[in-house]
């Protein structure tokens, strides 16, 4: 299983928080809210591409918008592998946190 970078972890977490699927704009908003840092669309799309390539996220098209020239939107969905990878990362974080607590109490 390919490891996740911090940004990818945040994006996956945000997707999970958005009930497992979202279009680009709400996802970006959530990412900014959680990380308290701005993220431009270019960066977000790059990370999403990587996540799609790793198989953690899939993208599907919604129906076109009902206006003249309206286009369909891309909906990003977290996959089972994505959820596992995120769980794995959390577990890793959890063990690290425990190690830190042990270390601090030992002192």
């Amino acid at each position: 299983m390919a490891p996740l970078t911090l940004k990818e972890e945040i994006i996956l977490s945000c997707l999970l928080m958005l009930e497992g699927n979202s279009s680009g704009a709400p996802l970006r908003k959530k990412v900014i809210e959680i990380s308290r840092k701005n993220i431009v669309y270019g960066t977000l799309y790059n990370h999403l591409e990587t996540l799609i390539r790793k198989g953690y996220v899939t993208s599907t098209k919604s129906d076109p918008r009902p206006v003249q020239g309206g286009r369909s939107q891309t909906i990003y969905r977290i996959t089972k592998e994505g959820t596992q990878a995120l769980g794995e990362t959390f577990r890793m974080h959890e063990s690290i946190r425990k190690k830190i607590e042990d270390f601090e109490s030992g002192i």
Partner: protein, 876 residues
């Protein structure tokens, strides 16, 4: 979706974003941006939302452009590489393309420069568009004549009567004998002008005061070159030059140095003298015609308004002196009009007679511009033809490119780029051609073109523009045609040659030869008409006649002894004196009526002495010539020409002995003989009715008929006698036939140019045909091989290959000849005496086009026919 159903983001920014993301189908970028924009609009402000949208789009756009251009430049490099390889690989085709286009461009550039020069005449004057020449149009006896010259009184009356005229100046061309500092007498043409000339025109002075330079009588201004000629120095202001003025030696004070008059001026001069040197009496006759009057109209006054006002001038000032024109109840405005001719139009619309300099011709400008465009067009057709013909060869390349992802627009861009490259190479070649040809062109057609003109930015842009347009346009059809191939079919190996493209090529070749046929037909017709003019009997013998101008008083007094002494020499046949010469404009014109009749007939008045008819070997049809034995001939006798007799309504026999009255109260003149019509004007016009009266004092020109045996020594003898009897008088001889030839200078120029252009157009068309023939031979190699194996002879194969081309040429002739016939027939209408376009012209045109075409494809056809069928069949 949590946002409005309508797009509300900035339209332009959204379109830019859409353009950038056209190929990004994974993400719905535009939609995401829209959503964020709408949220931002609600939570912050519209302005902030827009700023956010624009800043993101612009940042991305810059990156996008960089990416695109890097890609494009890489592709451009590739296209150029392929283009150069193609040029190298197909040397023959490339040569035909580049050379043909270069020829077309060369013709275009040279003609363009010439047209630019022709249209630039007199534009250097700041007030050019407000300066007019006062001209008259006279409709006398159904004959129209345009008179650029008029009386010296016009200036005064026009300035007095019309507030619309700001200023006026007169130009009077005079010839003066000048005695320089070394007492050498030279004859020089000068203009006597008003001092206002510098206010109207921009001729200007290098030294001296323009306001006062020519104000005082007996003052002159001259160019630096002339100052050096007469004084040996250019520091001449204040010095004097001795002129024979009104029969006396008068010192003229130099008051200024003139700037060189630009070559594109319709008036050329190097010395101007003050017209105030003449007494006012000189100009008192309002009816006389001798000088040019120019006016400067006030700002905002149009030509139409001025001409309308001139009706008043005609009615009040001119009517009293032009009473004789008012015959058969015509009003003065019907027979006499005063026109304001814009000076910028004079060069291209010159008057037939009395023009200051030989003018140009607007028709020539049109004809050659059309020819230039046609020849360039022919070269472009070659390009299209060869490119589509070679399409099959490049079909695989095109389809492979398509397979690996090239779009139609990219492929089109590639082919257009290739043809633009070829056209740029052609431009380089054509500039070399121009450098070589412009001196030859200048010499042959007596013009002053220079390659330097090309360095002017507007000309450079024009040439580059024409070249690229020609290149792009001629690459357009091949580009569209080539990109239409279906990759699957082509890459499987079966290239279907569509009939449509062959038909298109055929049409183009036919069109090329239609143009060549028209130009060739034109060339041959002009050539035949010129030959006709040169050989047609003019009604007099123009050969071996020496002409010397004899205007001074000295010539008048010494003429008789000069004549008698010359006639003693056996090489001198006869000698005579006349006011005018055939080919020169005739000044005199008067109204005559029969005794007892009121009907006035307008006749040209020609004055000559007793020997004129004999010297020019004219035929007397009835009656007799002037004779010294008849003392009464000096006063009241005249000769008429056939046209005059016909006009008056007599028969030849009736005319002799009958009487005519000139004007109202003059004594009647007896007609003693009728001369056969002779052409004293060019063959463009019909022989006009003329009366010949006896010249009583020596004026105008001395004509000497000599024997053709020893012309050089005879001329030397005449010069010797001239110097003996008229010391100090200039011996400025010319031959009558060459003077007459000058009448047809324009036509001769046209003949030469037609010859050059017909050869060029044929050459370009043949280049195309040669290329196509070689291509056809190549495509049909297999077919030829099979035909030969089945028993066809080389002759059969050559015929098989050639018959199609011959068919095309014949079709082109069928279309071209009637068009050319119509055009040339119209041109011939300019001549009162003209050839009939007979079958010979048609036969000549057809045979020349066929022969040249045969020559261009026969070689290829024969090469293919003689090839060994084994090699042909092994091919492919």
């Amino acid at each position: 979706m949590g946002y409005s159903r309508k797009y509300t983001s900035p339209g332009l920014a959204r379109r830019l974003l859409q353009h950038m993301t056209a190929y990004h189908h994974h993400h719905s970028i535009v939609e995401d941006f829209e959503e964020t924009f709408q949220e931002s609009k609600k939570s912050k402000s519209v302005f902030k939302a827009k700023c956010w949208y624009w800043s993101h789009v612009l940042k991305s756009w810059l990156k996008y452009l960089r990416l695109i251009w890097v890609g494009r430049i890489i592709m451009l490099k590739n296209y150029f590489k392929i283009a150069f390889r193609n040029i190298k690989r197909h040397r023959l085709y490339s040569f035909i393309n580049i050379c043909g286009l270069a020829l077309g461009l060369t013709v275009c550039i040279i003609i363009g420069l010439w047209v630019q020069r022709e249209c630039s005449y007199d534009l250097f004057h700041q007030n050019a568009r407000r300066i007019y020449r006062v001209e008259r149009e006279i409709f006398r006896d159904n004959l129209y004549s345009r008179w650029p010259i008029g009386s010296g009184q016009y200036k005064k009356f026009l300035l007095e009567d019309f507030a619309e005229i700001e200023n006026a100046a007169r130009f009077w061309r005079r010839e003066f004998a000048i005695k320089d500092t070394r007492n050498v007498v030279r004859s020089q043409e000068m203009f006597a002008v008003d001092h206002s000339v510098f206010r109207i025109f921009d001729f200007g002075l290098e030294q001296g005061d323009e306001k006062t330079a020519l104000k005082e009588p007996h003052t002159l201004v001259m160019t630096r070159k002339n100052a050096l000629k007469y004084f040996g120095t250019d520091d001449v202001i204040g010095r004097s030059l001795s002129l024979e003025f009104e029969g006396e030696q008068v010192n003229f004070k130099v008051t200024g140095i003139l700037k060189e008059v630009p070559e594109n001026s319709h008036i050329l001069f190097d010395t101007l003298i003050s017209i105030s040197s003449y007494s006012e009496d000189t100009f008192s006759d309002l009816r006389s015609n001798y000088l040019y009057t120019y006016v400067l109209a006030r700002e905002g006054v149009s030509r139409r308004v001025l001409e309308e006002k001139m009706k008043m001038f005609v009615g009040q000032r001119l009517k009293p002196v032009y009473g004789d024109l008012l015959v058969s109840g015509l009003s003065i405005h019907e027979v006499l009009k005063v026109r304001m001719y814009p000076i910028i139009d004079i060069h291209l619309h010159p008057a037939e007679n009395w023009e200051l300099e030989p003018g140009g011709s607007i028709n020539l400008v049109y004809i050659f511009s059309t020819i230039a465009v046609f020849i360039l067009f022919l070269a472009c057709i070659n390009f299209i033809n060869l490119s589509t013909a070679r399409a099959n060869k490049r079909a695989k390349e095109v389809c492979l490119r398509k397979t690996v992802g090239a779009g139609k627009s990219q492929l089109r861009a590639q082919f257009i780029q290739e043809s633009a490259l070829s056209s740029l190479l052609s431009l380089i070649c054509s500039l070399v051609f121009c450098a070589l040809l412009i001196p030859v062109f200048n010499q042959s057609f007596d013009v002053h073109l220079s390659l330097k003109l090309l360095s002017q930015p507007k000309n450079l842009f024009a040439i580059l523009g024409i070249t690229l347009t020609a290149g792009i346009l001629s690459g357009l059809y091949p580009a569209v045609y080539l990109t239409r191939f279906d990759p699957v079919t082509v890459l499987k190996g079966s290239i279907s040659r569509k009939k449509g493209s062959t038909g298109f090529r055929k049409n183009l070749v036919v069109f090329q030869f239609v143009i060549s046929t028209i130009i060739l037909f034109g060339m041959f017709t002009v050539y035949r008409q010129m030959r006709y003019i040169q050989t047609r009997s003019l009604g007099f013998d123009r050969e071996n006649v020496v002409v010397i101008p004899a205007g001074s008083r000295q010539a008048s007094s010494g003429f008789e002894p000069f004549r008698n002494e010359l006639l003693q020499n056996t090489n001198i046949v006869s000698l005579s004196n006349s006011t005018d010469l055939p080919g020169d404009p005739l000044y005199g014109n008067g109204g005559f009526r029969r005794t007892g009749s009121k009907e006035t007939v307008s006749l040209i008045i020609f004055s000559a002495d007793h020997d004129y008819v004999e010297t020019l070997k004219m035929d007397i049809l009835a009656g007799r010539n002037f004779s010294r034995e008849h003392g009464t001939d000096r006063e009241r006798t005249i000769l008429l020409n056939e046209a005059a007799v016909k006009r008056i309504g007599w028969t030849l026999q009736e005319a002799v002995g009958n009487r005519l009255i000139r004007g109202e109260n003059n004594p009647p003149l007896e007609v003693i003989g009728v001369v056969k019509n002779f052409h004293f004007k060019s063959l463009r016009t019909e022989v006009e009715p003329m009366v010949i009266q006896l010249l009583t004092n020596v004026r105008g020109f001395i004509s000497i008929k000599i024997k053709p045996d020893d012309i050089k020594n005879t001329i030397a003898l005449i010069r010797q006698k001239w110097e003996k009897f008229f010391p100090g008088e200039r011996f400025d001889f010319s031959f009558l036939d060459s003077r007459i030839q000058k009448l047809y200078d324009k036509e001769k120029k046209m003949q030469k140019l037609f010859l050059v252009f017909s050869a060029l157009s044929l050459f370009v068309a043949c280049l195309g045909l040669f290329g196509l023939a070689s291509y056809t031979a190549e495509v049909k190699t297999k077919e030829i091989g099979i035909r030969k194996t089945l028993g066809a002879s080389a002759g059969n194969v050559t015929f098989f290959l050639s018959k199609e081309f011959i068919k095309w040429i014949l079709i082109a002739n069928v279309f071209g000849c009637p068009i050319a016939f119509t055009l040339m027939n119209k041109w011939l209408q300019n001549f009162a005496y003209r050839i009939d376009i007979g079958w010979t012209v048609f036969i000549f045109t057809v045979s020349v086009t066929l022969l040249t075409a045969l020559f261009s494809f026969a070689f290829q056809a024969m090469k293919a026919a003689w090839a060994n069928p084994v090699d042909s069949l092994r091919y492919e």
